[in-house]
Amino acid sequence: MADLNVAQHPDILQTCGLGSCVGACLWDPVTKIGGMAHVMLPSSTLAKGGNEAKFADTAVPILINEMVRLGADKSRLVAKIAGGAQMFAFYSANDIMKIGDRNTEAVKAVLQQAKIRLLAQDTGGNYGRTIEFYTTDNRLYVRTINLGEKYI
């Protein structure tokens, strides 16, 4: 969690046990370079420093740069995201309860700002997800404990 990785076809990127965190996957269809960020929090402005891969607003730009360094073209990038669930129904009266939704919104906002098209999302709900991202063809495999598995 709270990290990011880049890879190239035919590698697969994976992250397990996404609850309120969002897995943001970016892909360049021509070079088949992919990247995945495991985002924990919506914004670095709340924070007192630390690992920038944690925050939606810093992780996505870093991920884009890493992919460009590998040879990707920013203007071709497309995105798929998963996660952002509310695992506990009555956890607390404050904002932290809605962190899943806030993460999803923050990631979508950063993508929009970077002019990266969001092709698919599997977000929300109250269950955990494990995801595998195939750099070969941009398939995002989403697995849950009780609600089966699918590709988006």
Binding site: M1, C21, M40, F90
Partner: protein, 204 residues
């Protein structure tokens, strides 16, 4: 982020001492509730990067029952109980006198789990409150049965606002006959550890 990186052995020892007293109370309470003998490990205090916390309970995809209690007051923290699913079924089964086998835990069983955790955390907080002379008020606990990593997300995110490492106090409760194990995590929020240390008079 150096939130917990340079914490002194002295403070860690004090934290461990508090944990032992609190967890001991908790084990007694659970024992009374289940009418069984409950053992517990001496609490381990660990300072870990986030990513490693799920491994403590068997990995981010491990199916667990997690009960989280948010504690307000002088030293806000989160108390998180995690049972591997087999233990959760066993514990719920003992409490309501039924056998879940390999199946899903129904609403009654889920309530029983929350109640058991309520009892343990109540005992723990009483001990901690008395020892440290702090006001510690638990809120209503919440239960989720799902992947360990997913359940840990919210708690770790809260801590993530202030650093990249979490300090956790971990104790394993075991019921010997039926092999029920539960991990108990005390996760202090930013500044709370210092307040607890101050309250019990521990200086660097």
């Amino acid at each position: 982020m150096a939130a917990y990186e340079n914490i002194s052995e002295h403070k860690l020892d004090a934290f461990r001492e508090i944990g032992t007293i609190g967890a001991g109370n908790g084990a007694t309470a659970l024992s009374q509730m289940m009418n069984r003998k409950i053992g517990m490990t001496v609490p381990a205090i660990r300072v870990l990067p986030f990513a490693q916390v799920p491994d403590v309970v068997g990995g981010p995809e491990r199916l667990v029952a997690g009960v989280i209690t948010s504690v307000e007051g002088h030293a806000p923290c989160n108390l998180l109980f995690m049972f591997p699913i087999e233990s959760a079924r066993m514990l719920a089964g003992v409490l309501i006198e039924c056998n879940y086998g390999d199946g899903e835990i129904d609403d009654i069983g889920r309530s029983a789990l929350v109640e058991a955790v309520n009892v343990i955390t109540g005992a723990f907080l009483n001990a901690l409150g008395d020892f440290a002379q702090l006001v510690m008020m638990p809120t209503v606990p919440a239960l989720a049965i799902d992947m360990a990593g997913a359940i840990l997300d919210v708690v770790l995110a809260q801590i993530g606002i202030i650093g990249d490492q979490v300090i956790l106090m971990e104790t394993v409760f075991t019921e010997i006959e039926e092999n029920v194990t539960g991990h108990f995590f005390l996760l202090p929020e930013a500044g709370s550890l210092e307040k607890i240390m101050e309250a019990i008079g521990v200086k660097d």
